[in-house]
Symmetry: D2
Subunit: 171 residues, 4 copies
DNA sequence: TTTT
DNA sequence: TTTT
């Protein structure tokens, strides 16, 4: 069995960084990858591909990438499913990034970076399974996790996650 | 922009071969790709990845692969969306296979095969856009989706498509 | 059988564009791809990977890339061998690029570019076999081709190739 | 920087398993990957691609693969160079396999296998650098390269390496 | 809606 | 719900 994906595209929005209750960082973002060919109307369409990255590289993504950033992803396709609000099963296909490469020229993205290497490695082969994009109750599991806090919105995210109801979370 | 996917896995069902009104073959199938690692319960899960292939390789897929066949796919990720029955937009992520490789040992799959080469090349960079998996009204278009005829079910599929208006189809 | 390579790196020199006697463009270049990890001395080494690209994208490469350009390559590994000057067989491993992606920001590379798409597709599945990097007599073939003229050096390359000795050429 | 290779092909010979003086397993093998197209003579050629794999998966490769086995490789391209016998620099391009997938049907390869998973993960991002294929003096170092002991030939390989100075080895 |  |  083999499962390998390589993408280069641009972030459609700022990445979304959250933490699991056990403190594992997870970032999600969508890459717009322009197609190499034009459609019948002569336009070049794009594919919009959801990506997830875990742990340290998740934090790097949040720190160094933003809407419009050019980035490369090396990872694998993951499928999962969960029960939607309406009780129907929702099927999700997304990319688990094992490394994310920052392809903007130096200094382009404000943040910093420094040094000459700028790829972020990390998705371990056993990263936590979950639904970092939200949007439903994950799988069959009943659970009482407290889930994510968006670090960009709340610099103190690591601490206070108290006001999040168990049922709102995908873990 | 780069977009490359390589998969090796097993077909979850026999492939589904159809033809567009203009006579272009398109096959769809799902690959089960076992993960390289085990989950917390010690089980090895699989990803179930939808694939589409066009033209001659579509026919090869239909002829040489069946449920359980081991196959390799080299292609790209495609996203599209359409309006669901309930009027809600449905987002789809699938693999457009540019080549499909038959990895069963010789003679394993009944059909035939012969020779030593057995990879099926094909998805052109400008293959017809559409929703070969069905399941909704494609894109913004209003249509009544009589569309495809399954060649496996109907050996005469190539002929009787006369009552399908071009406007009914997602291409 | 599957054979897929995806690279992102920087050109170590200006690309080298030549034409076969039958007028087919072929460009060669070397990509420096920094490794994701450091060696025992704490340095990040690079791999220097030879690439070949044929036809129209070869000309695009010559026109839009130069020493230091950041580029992506999607292609396959090719091996070949030829008899060296000393009569010994020389083994070569290189990448045949099917598409080359220009990843510099707009305006960065002098040349121009224009438009919004900037990937160069091309290596046909049956590109001419040869030794575009030079360095030996190709394979078993006896031949009297006049071979390449470097377009960058000689804008009139298409015409006058008369002063190139047969024995200097890899075809 | 990105560097990703995926191959499926057949071993041209039994794999070669050795151990570094510090006891790290390293296996080398060559994959024959048939091309998807035919040459002008109508023959389908193959590319012969050298692969290296480290640690546990190296031992799995030695145990489960042999000449003719169908295998998949997911890894990266590595280039290195060393001084040849004649004092000339020799350039090497090879694949460092991060995972190797055994694609033969169960029972096909004698050995065993067992269980349902059969991919071998392993090449760490910082695997020892060296010249497991032999064939020269590695890098700038002067050495007399007694190096490796082939475990298949010598079941006691793990023990008798006492007379090899650390300076003689490419690690 | 999942393969061995 | 889309990027340059």
């Amino acid at each position: 069995m083999m499962n390998r994906v390589v993408l280069v595209g641009r972030l459609t929005k700022d990445p979304d960084l959250r933490y699991t209750p056990s403190g594992v960082a997870v970032a999600t973002f969508t890459l717009a990858v322009n197609r190499a060919f034009s459609n019948q109307q002569g336009e070049r369409e794009a594919d919009f591909i959801n990506c997830v990255v875990w742990r340290k590289p998740a934090e790097n993504v949040a720190n160094f990438l933003k809407k419009g950033s050019l980035a490369g992803v090396d990872g694998r396709i993951q499928t999962r499913n969960y029960e939607g609000q309406d009780g129907k099963r929702v099927y999700v296909t997304e990319i688990v990034a094992e490394s994310v490469q920052f392809l903007e020229p130096k200094g382009a993205s404000g943040g910093g970076g420094g040094g000459r290497g700028n790829d972020f490695y990390g998705a371990p082969p056993m990263e936590p399974q979950g639904n970092p994009f939200g949007g439903g109750n994950q799988n069959q599991r009943q659970n009482s996790n407290q889930g994510f806090t968006k670090v960009n919105d709340d610099p103190f995210a690591g601490s206070g996650q108290i006001d999040i109801s168990d049922d709102d979370l995908p873990f």
